[in-house]
Symmetry: C2
Subunit: 103 residues, 2 copies
Amino acid sequence: MVKRVRGSTTGRPIMALLDLLGRRWTLRIVWELREAPRRFRELQDMTGASPTIVNTRLAELREAKLVELDEATGYRLTALGNELLRLFLPLHAWSEKWAKATA
Amino acid sequence: MVKRVRGSTTGRPIMALLDLLGRRWTLRIVWELREAPRRFRELQDMTGASPTIVNTRLAELREAKLVELDEATGYRLTALGNELLRLFLPLHAWSEKWAKATA
DNA sequence: TCCGGTTGCTACGGAATATGTAGCAAGCCG
DNA sequence: CGGCTTGCTACATATTCCGTAGCAACCGGA
């Protein structure tokens, strides 16, 4: 059972990726893992999301091989996940500019 | 009135941005506007989303000054929206790699 | 052995959000 | 006038999310 990715039946990876990341809390969770591994409850507290959804998103991210659970330290980005995060880092600086422009 | 962004009360722009983009169809819509302006129904057909949600997302993106409506040609990215898209372009190449790794 | 704490994770009922179909009013072209 | 496209909306249904509570497994004392 291929856990079909919502809406994207084209088979184009970019669509699957945009769909995966375009789910509530997914981007945020990846972001919160940028510096250090985090425990389940840490992620819950940092994001404010319900445990149900934290768990669901972590499961999706694990299946996508972007996140993994190291029992000793907590959830962390995989090598692949780190690459993805690096692509997103410029967003931080840009968001400041964007905030000024929309204020 | 700053149309508070869901869950993110920190006032940090990055959180607001991650939250805005982490809504169903938002990333996808921005992506579909990468090459040319698109009409309302074009976006509907390209994404497969319902008109209700297309309209909602477009309204949000317009308020965020990332998208604007040119009545002659359709919805298009603003200068700001184009900057954001440019940050996302590397995702396309990366997604191919990712697809292979998860296959 | 039992206690308190942490771990990841799940059940469940109610609230919020998305979907799908239909259709509106305004504009344009003939 | 008719027929087409435009952006957009109503409304009932289906899906998803939230918030609270709590589970079983583990660990470190006492």
